[in-house]
Symmetry: C2
Subunit: 143 residues, 2 copies
């Protein structure tokens, strides 16, 4: 008697479309991809960290982490070195240049986010975050 499933479907489709629209917009606004900025931000918060620990923080695939860090190293934003005590570990840290650049990126990100949420009240933001957290939990524990 209700059209509730139709609306549920819209929610999932909306999530999908938001993502697709966000990716290019985020990068054109900030000058860097969301994932890469997240990696840099984690590095910003610490002196040095192993790739493994970093990967656990950002929670994306090892392979992607390796590739991003290599490219960031090529750009001179990041420094990587092997742990002399345990050669399996690679430690990563921000270069001076990286540390400077990230500030600008983060300002742009803040501007972007403000735009995306500009018409949301503090209460709505809270509700939304809480709902998204539940969805994420449900997805991870589904099946």
């Amino acid at each position: 008697m209700s059209n509730s499933y139709i609306d549920d479907e819209k929610i999932i489709n909306r999530l999908y479309e938001i993502h697709r629209r966000t990716v290019p917009k985020f990068e054109s606004c900030t000058g860097i991809s969301q994932t890469r900025l997240e990696l840099l931000h984690e590095l910003y918060e610490v002196e040095e960290i192993s790739q493994r620990a970093l990967q656990k923080k950002v929670n994306i695939d090892h392979a992607a982490v390796t590739r991003h860090l290599k490219q960031l190293e090529d750009k001179g934003m990041v420094i990587r070195r092997k742990d002399p005590k345990d050669q399996r570990f690679t430690y990563v840290s921000l270069s001076e240049e990286g540390r400077l650049k990230i500030i600008h990126y983060r300002e742009e990100k803040e501007r972007f986010i403000s735009g995306v949420l500009h018409d949301f009240s503090a209460k709505e933001r809270k509700t939304l975050l809480e709902m998204l957290t539940r969805i994420q939990h449900n997805i991870e524990h589904f099946e």
Copy 2:
């Protein structure tokens, strides 16, 4: 005086992560990707449609539409033919097999969505959809 920006950032990061987690889960649960199922669903609703019109409905890049349809054609789920009146247009329709298979896919999709939203009340779902719609609008009109 508030930590509101931190939370805003969490919202955006959550959206990103939800997407990343959903993509593989959706496909392993339903047996097909979200985009492809959306294409098939649109085809299910009509007798025949041009690729151009279909592309406008699902709102993804032309190139992606072409590739999906070619692959679906190879799998025998879709039939494509040129418009004899205007050879620029390619019309697409579901094959018998496609029409049968899509039913199963959609059942699985429904099960997936139910799982993801199982602890949301009808009111919450409504609120969520409304919020996501606003976000999508904001992203599209940003800058």
